[in-house]
Symmetry: D2
């Protein structure tokens, strides 16, 4: 369980204590999510497709991955809190929509949907 | 509450039914998070700083924002599930680390930390 | 004038001398362009729309901006060289296409095209 | 040769005719570069490292790649023009700096520099 309400409250206090709410515009938070996402991506910048999930076991890489995933999660929780959006409901709607969009019989084993 | 276990299970089934697990490498999921983050950012591409949170009330923009936030959330849940990472614990560690890194008396009301 | 042929040759030698050509797949170079673009964006992460072009005169920010723009330029030149794409011709086609897509009488002074 | 002066002039006229200069702040152009970079990256989102340069020969993919590279080039030319930055000089300085940073004897055949 991710207690996003509790995390959102912690982020509110964090911003209030530093008077940073003024910087938390939709554009700035969207920018921050992109910047953190790129930091996660950078960890895999030059891998030639050979990197599997076992490599995340490496303690140093794992710590960085955790850090970047946490940054992204916190910024989307902050964005959703400011915009009064229910993240879990949005995620459930999206899963249902994707099941419709990609019927199993047409998309099994192909990445066709993606690159075309 | 975000039931990330349940969402992770739904994503596992979704991938298994389509034989898409093979595409879900660390690099590809990190790529996907960046791509979705850019789609969120694109919604605010040309705003001149004047866009506030009240504008997210616009139904069309709001639907797109929800959609992109959901995509990002689902991909980080999928990444964390594959990597066996506890997202909530990582987020709580991060908040604690940030509190240390940005003491309120030194960073109040300034974006100095960011752009320097 | 940007002598992209000369820069492409320099990048070829650079990669050959380090045996890095193997890492320069389409996906890895596309990843690198995104990572560098995010580093440029990070320089403006928290600005509230108030930052104008005069601020780029600041020597420290200016040096970072130059650095990131150079990284992006070098990676797109490298990508175009590997893919045998004529960057200038592509840019001229794009300008012509945009002139068609955004007739002046319909798009003057509005960012409507963008955010809708 | 990329005639960046000529392209910059074309972009100036393009913006002036539409009164779009007001939207071309440093942050908005940096955002645009990131958004276009992600659109390029999306073309390779799910490839499993197996995609080589020969696949860019595919006419449909090739057209999209050219389009995205052109978008990125035009936005960095526009950014450099607004900021009065000499792109070629910046690129040459960067190549020289990289040669110092990655001596051939220490970095041959390894992606160590990158992921560590």
């Amino acid at each position: 369980m991710i207690d996003n309400k509790k995390l959102a409250m912690a982020l509110r206090s964090f911003a209030a204590e530093r008077d940073w709410d003024q910087f938390h515009t939709p554009k700035n938070l969207a920018t921050s999510i992109s910047v953190e996402a790129a930091e996660l991506l950078e960890l895999f910048q030059w891998s030639r497709g050979q990197k599997g999930w076992d490599e995340i076991a490496d303690a140093s890489l794992r710590a960085k991955v955790q850090d970047e995933l946490a940054d992204i999660l916190l910024y989307i929780i902050r964005f959703a809190d400011k915009a009064d959006i229910d993240l879990e409901a949005a995620a459930e709607r999206k899963i249902a929509a994707n099941a419709q969009k990609y019927p199993t019989d047409k998309f099994r084993g192909t990445d066709r949907k993606y690159d075309e």
